[in-house]
Amino acid sequence: MKKTILLVLLLVSFGLNTALKADDDFTKAMVKAKQSLKTAVDKYDEKEMIKARGQFERILQLKKNTWLVNYYLALCDYNISTTGMEKKDNDKIKKYTQSGLDLLEKSILERDNFGDAYVLKMSLEYNRFQYEMDKMQTIIADVTAAEESAKKYDPTNPRFYLVKGIATYFTPAAFGGGIDKAQPLIEKSIELYGLIKNSDETLPDWGLDAAYGYMALCMIDAGKLPEAKSYMDKGLAISPDSKMLTGWVKKQYDEKAK
């Protein structure tokens, strides 16, 4: 009997150790890939984004939480697609937006209550305006559907308000957008970031630096430069290399300060 118990203990120990190791491999790889993506996004470096994408794609081989890995792959695609906007490369925007939407569909099929997936879907759907404005009605319907799901599954997700705020920021006032309407959404986003207690380091945690950046832009527009500076500093404290903060926001700030 004692021998049997010991044998079972032995097997359980072995199995547990193997599982713990797999978990550890997955977590390590995910954290590393997330960091690579953050660095790439901060630097706005397409090559690095593509490399980070490859890291996530290889993590798929671990066959663990593939819904989450696919989410990150879609996030990589979204970020790569934005590099096409600067160069007005519609082919690239389309290619990566479509790929991102396909990956999100896989992610949602596996786990349909992950709020961040719908937030990212909103962003990717907004991208479609860049290359198929003529499908405006369909895009609006798809964005609305994603918005409803995002709110339903994670009503306090700060990235939901951030994405909505950014979209509102860039939408002309004639279509219900504008900086004054974007500001409360971004404020709400920052407030919600403060309430997050994320213990799982593989889950998404991006966006607070960008939220500070957009708040800084709102303040610059309102002529409130000290407040703008304060938001910029808060953003830079999180992402010192953020090209958005050190480049675009800083440039706007400097121009207004002249």
Partner: protein, 734 residues
């Protein structure tokens, strides 16, 4: 002691498990280049050894390099956006680095554009479409009408500036419209009404796919001689909401509903009352009944399982008009009133992992009352159709399509018709008619879509139909091919036999139902340059050889299959799109279409032998919110048969016209310029579109027909009522 040993063993195993990584063997380096189309390097391809995270991503030169401690036979997986996944087995030996170059092929969806068959113009969600739905509804002069939009493509012409179209010199009846597998026999309002343009009842916004083929079409389409307009409506609405449109004289309300993606529905209501429109633009016709229409329709959809979808589509329209018409024998109002009911039920699901089965049943009823002088008829056209289509990929490069259909047509006509077409007076000699006729047709087809290589496809198919009235079987072999010469450059061709049976009414005028199906042999060859739909250039030549056309035998006045003819020509299409700013396209068609009613008769122009036809459409976004556009059309006048003299008939006290050779003269050249303006904005925080249309801006007088005075001594021009008009309205999301 034993327990201590066991405990030690447990700890040892645990420690070893974690320490395995540190007991590394010498890693093996794997490197190489990943290439794609035309041996160009693929940037961002991902390589990984299956079951591990050992791998790398290629750089701009397509180069990769990584190390692994795995040994033995391993599977290397390669993926890249836009490319098909690739895997290969590699044998990793300690101390032996591996250099491996890999070639990826574009995935199937990116090579689909060459599968577009000859003479096809597409719209919908596919990224390779010729025109998008928005481009279609924005076409100036098209009035958001799908059929009018199609006439900006080469090869198709409007009938009387309305929605009914003719294609490549054929008759309007040679074009069929398919909606979700059902045939739409009367998708028009004001069809065939005197000097009144018809309008389509199909809402372009309800369509997820439009495929217009002006020749050489697939074997799955039967009973059509010239062209097919294949429409697919949305299976399931993606959201919930309503949209209202209010224009001068026309109002509409539509809505969509989606319940968790499982159940959905749509509805649309339209009502026209043209009095304000006439007051704004000046009423040009003399009406006893101002044209009026009502419409109601919608869909109900339900998703079942993972792939199943059921959909019920229904539509009702009514139109009424009373317009004055002065003919040589009668001066009075042409009155028409029609009701059109249509319903289609469709179910589709995947019986296997890759196959798709669709089945549908549709019914329609078209009631029409016509009255002009002695002519006074009421007709009913019933139609029913059942259809099953099946698609099964048989390999990575071959799809098999097959299907069967049964179609029933019935016509009932009652009333009074003039004995002679030249005397329409109320007291003219007439015939009382009360006829009923019906026919059935059962057909089946099978075809394969074969991608022989990345650049070459071939679609052989065959269909056969049996017709109950003629008791004849037709067999139609068809073939489409396409070859991609280089990126964006495709050569396409098609050859095939096409049959179309006469209507049940025609058989009433035949002797012992002695009418076989009309047939046409299509030969098409063309070239297309299509850069992602932004730049499209297409040139296509065609020849259609008509046989067994239905015509009256001058010897016994029975309808017989004795006509023949041909149509040949060249279509040219050029489209340019610049980002979201500008879209413009130019269509030019040359056609030569001749018909002969019987062997010994002289060959003459067909009714729609339009030798030259050109249209230019441009649409420009001044800002993200403001769009302006124009369409200019110019074409050879259509043929008509002039009256050369007339003889007096003292019995009827009427002149009998003497006609020249059929279609021996032509109307003057037709031209028209239309402009449009759209402003997108928000109202009450909701999406809103304001639109203004200026039709026939130059107020060109285009001829509708020639009429004559009572003794035919004076030819009178009857101009189209489509004079310069302005129309405006607002669409608002609710």
């Amino acid at each position: 002691m034993k327990y201590l040993f066991t405990l030690f063993l447990l700890l040892f195993i645990s420690a070893n498990t974690f320490a395995a990584d540190s007991l590394a063997t010498v890693p093996v380096k794997i490197s190489g280049i990943v290439k794609g189309e035309e041996n160009k390097p693929v940037n961002g391809a991902n390589l990984v050894i299956e079951g591990t995270i050992d791998g790398a991503t290629t750089d701009e030169k397509g180069m990769y390099e990584f190390e692994t401690e795995k040994t033995g036979k391993q599977k290397l997986l390669v993926t890249a956006v836009d490319y098909s996944s690739y895997s290969t087995e590699i044998d990793i030996q300690q101390g032996q680095n591996i250099v491996l170059d890999i070639k990826l092929t574009k995935n199937v969806t990116t090579t689909e554009q060459i599968l577009v068959t000859a003479s096809s113009f597409t719209s919908g969600e596919n990224s390779k479409v010729t025109l998008t739905p928005l481009e279609i509804v924005r076409i100036p002069g098209a009035n958001a009408d799908l059929y009018r939009a199609l006439t900006t493509f080469p090869g198709s012409n409007q009938v009387d500036e309305g929605s009914r179209i003719t294609v490549r010199g054929g008759d309007p009846d040679e074009v069929i419209t398919i909606l979700d597998q059902a045939t739409l026999y009367n998708p028009f309002i004001f069809d065939d009404s005197y000097n009144t343009s018809s309008f389509s009842t199909v809402n372009p916004w309800s369509l997820k796919g439009i495929n217009f083929t002006s020749g050489g079409f697939s074997a799955k389409y039967g009973n059509a001689l010239s062209a097919v307009l294949d429409l697919k409506s949305y299976d399931m609405p993606t959201t919930t909401g309503m949209f209202a449109v209010i224009g001068v004289g026309v109002g509409g309300l539509s809505g969509v509903y989606n319940n968790k993606g499982k159940f959905g529905g749509t509805f649309s209501l339209t009502q026209s009352y043209l009095k304000p429109f006439f007051e704004l633009n000046g009423q040009t016709g003399d009406y006893s009944k101002i044209p009026e229409t009502q419409g109601a329709g919608g869909t109900l959809a339900y998703k079942f399982g993972t792939t199943g979808n059921m959909k019920l589509y229904f539509n009702y329209t009514n139109d009424a008009i009373g317009i004055r018409n002065t003919s040589p024998s009668y001066d009075g109002y042409f009155n028409s009133n029609s009701d059109n009911y249509f319903a289609n039920y469709k179910i589709s699901f995947a019986p296997g992992t890759t196959s798709l089965l669709s089945a549908g049943a549709s019914v329609s009823l078209f009631n029409r009352k016509l009255n002009y002088g002695i002519l006074d008829t009421r007709s009913k056209d019933y139609y029913a159709k059942g259809r099953v289509d099946f698609t099964q990929p048989v390999s990575n490069s071959t799809d098999l399509n097959a299907g069967v259909e049964y179609e029933y047509l019935e016509n009932q006509t009652k009333g009074t018709v003039p004995q002679n077409s030249y005397n329409l007076r109320l007291n003219a000699p007439s015939l009382k008619i009360d006829t009923s006729s019906n026919s059935g047709r059962i057909g089946g087809y099978i075809e394969t879509q074969m991608r022989i290589s990345e650049n070459f496809f071939i679609i052989p198919g065959i269909r056969s139909d049996y017709h109950t009235l003629s008791k004849k079987i037709s067999v139609d072999p068809r073939l489409s091919v396409g070859y991609q010469l280089a990126k964006y450059n495709v050569v396409r061709g098609a050859i095939g036999l096409y049959h179309q049976y006469a209507t049940p009414q025609n058989y009433l005028s035949a002797n012992n139902n002695d009418l076989v199906a009309e047939d046409a042999m299509h030969y098409i060859l063309g070239y297309e340059y299509n850069k992602e739909g932004d730049i499209v250039f297409r040139v296509e030549g065609y020849y259609k050889d008509y046989r067994n056309l239905t015509a009256f035998d001058p010897n016994d006045f029975y309808l017989k299959s004795i006509g023949s003819g041909y149509a040949k020509g060249v279509d040219v299409f050029l489209k340019y799109k610049y980002q979201n700013k500008f879209t413009g396209w130019l269509s030019y068609a040359y056609a030569d279409s001749k018909r002969k009613p019987y062997d010994s008769a002289q060959e003459t122009s067909s009714d729609y032998d339009i030798s030259h036809n050109m249209s230019l459409t441009a649409s420009y976004n001044l800002t993200d919110a403001i769009n302006v556009g124009f369409t200019y059309r110019i074409s050879t006048g259509k043929p008509y048969t002039p009256v050369t003299s007339a003889t007096y008939d003292p019995v009827q006290d009427v002149y009998v016209p003497v006609y020249a050779l059929k279609n021996s003269d032509r109307f003057p050249t037709y031209t028209r310029l239309d402009m449009s303006f759209q402003y997108l904005t928000s109202l009450f925080n909701k999406f809103c579109v304001v639109f203004v249309a200026f039709n026939n801006v130059l107020n060109t007088k285009n001829l509708y027909q020639y009429s004559y005075n009572f003794d035919y001594s004076n030819k009178i021009e009857i101009n189209s009522l489509n004079k310069r008009i302005v129309y405006f309205g607002v669409g608002l999301q609710l």
